[in-house]
Amino acid sequence: MSAGNILVWIVWFAAAAGCIGSALAVVAFRNALFAALALIGNLISLAVFYLLLSAEFVAAAQVLIYAGAVMVMFLFVIAYVGWDKDIAWTGGPSWQTLGGVVAAMALLTELVVVIALGATNELRHSNHVSADFGSPASIGRLFMSNHLLAFEVISIVLLVAAIGGVILGAQRRRRRSAGVTR
């Protein structure tokens, strides 16, 4: 093992510990504010994974858009709704809690077994990639050529979501006084 290899392993385990620990914290925290802050930690450790997988542009977008913009919106709504009157774990373990945990553990076991089976043959060898793999230029070129339809559909989805957010969040006025509905 070379020194660089060991360093990547150390970074991987640090990112994995941060990733899974903060994911558990998101689910376990009573306080929605702390859960949102834990999700920011989770997103940043996932960005470390993306960097190790030579996905530089996706890592940058993850930190800027996700951990930055989307989570700030989350924190604003949590501050608006209030985080202190939270109903978290309700009493002892109900059948719902038990069923959820058992289903999640079963799915995780299945996934890990399938991955371990694949790891002995197909997944062992990965292709070599060039230096510009995952760079903004190459991703932008792909978006504008092969995936142009997906790009346009995403823009429509975002527009519709923005309109929907405005309609859902808008203050309703009195129907009579405004003359028109809404």
């Binding site: 990547v8 978290a88 991703i139």
Partner: protein, 102 residues
């Protein structure tokens, strides 16, 4: 490729996905259910990017960016619903959501 193989990244992605799934099933606060939904999407994103690296093709990364855009849209609509619930003085609890019908 230095460090751990693709299988390790896939295992981490599946762990994040299942933790998020457990959160959606266990928690009753819609805000935390949305946060857990983000965990599920991010676990899937990690798997997509790991396979993009495995096959040396950028299509997986493009798809991960599309998933991020869809997640942002979903957050907008979900938080809009939560704000609407708070404005109508409905308790922020997924089990009491039937009152949103009227």
């Amino acid at each position: 490729m230095l460090g751990p193989g693709i299988a390790w990244y896939l295992a981490a992605g599946s762990a994040v996905f299942t933790i998020g799934m457990a959160g959606v099933m266990l928690r009753r606060n819609p805000l935390i259910m949305l946060l857990s939904l983000e965990l599920m999407l991010n676990g899937a994103n990690l798997v997509l990017i790991a396979f993009a690296r495995q096959h040396g093709s950028l299509d997986g990364q493009v798809f991960a960016l599309a998933v991020m855009a869809v997640a942002a849209a979903e957050v907008v609509v979900g938080l809009g619903l939560v704000v609407a619930m708070a404005r109508r003085k409905i308790e922020i609890d997924a089990d009491l959501l039937s009152r949103l019908r009227k």
